[in-house]
Amino acid sequence: MSSPRGGDKEGGRDGERQIHVLAVDDSSVDRAVIAKLLRSSKYRVTAVDSAKKALELLGTEPNVNMIITDYSMPEMTGYELLKRVKESPTLREIPVVIMSSENDPDKINRCLEEGAEDFLLKPVRPSDVSRLCGRMRS
């Protein structure tokens, strides 16, 4: 549990423990694609279709090394999820990556200012996922 961040041979393994990524997207297509991209990098993936379900899971499953969430979702956006995570003393250390199909500089800056680790434009590519390897919470 205390391995150095990103310091392992395989992308998805941190010492003995498989890195766990929580993917959040209300689009079933995008959820399937991001989950597959992450699994191809040997990460353990839990994919949910709403920010509400993401928060419920985070309340019960503490071992999440990264959250990757779509920005535009009904009821609670990815930005609102980001804010809730960063306001929480127990969750704030989890890196949060935002995905969006819109290249909106205001939106991007807002997310980065709120503490997002990165902002990915959809469609997400394998190279985007490789880039995240060193940013997982250890």
Binding site: S72, S101, P123
Partner: protein, 152 residues
């Protein structure tokens, strides 16, 4: 050999599909992700796309049928369709969605209706292309061959 013939048919058909812009390199990226752990990944994602898009387009139609169009709600739907079409590589659908998004931002019902017609048409066209590709893939595998990786 039957699988060779089918593979050539598949490549020839796919070349036209790519050349005419129905699909782009994102589709190839999805093919490259397919592996033994999920051997039908592209078929599954493609099927999800076709089902979800059909529902989204019906949703867009309902919103535009209202006397007072909720352009925010409409735009949210359009962006969802734009996102998933980009994720599968359905370039022509994505491009129409971009124009649709602009019409939503302008609050132009006339513009949106025109875009709806175009997106519905492009959806039907790409649906036929994808279904043919999936059918050929199934036939190639049944004949003992492997599905060729496509490129733009």
């Amino acid at each position: 050999m039957e699988s060779d013939r089918l593979q050539k048919l598949y490549i020839d058909f796919a070349s036209v599909v790519f050349r005419e812009g129905f699909l782009d390199n994102q589709y190839t990226q999805l093919q490259q992700l397919q592996d033994e752990s999920e051997p039908k990944f592209v078929l599954q994602v493609g099927t999800l796309f076709l089902e979800d898009s059909g529902k989204l387009i019906n949703g867009l139609r309902s919103i535009l049928d209202q006397q007072d169009v909720d352009f925010e709600k409409l735009d949210a739907c359009v962006r969802k369709l734009m996102g998933s079409s980009a994720s599968i590589g359905a370039r022509r659908v994505k491009n129409v969605c971009m124009a649709f998004h602009n019409s939503c931002k302008k609050g132009s019902k006339e513009g949106c209706l025109k875009c709806l017609q175009q997106v519905a048409q492009e959806y039907l066209l790409v649906k036929r292309k994808l279904e043919t590709l999936f059918k050929l893939e199934t036939q190639i595998l049944a004949a003992g061959g492997s599905v060729p990786l496509l490129s733009q």
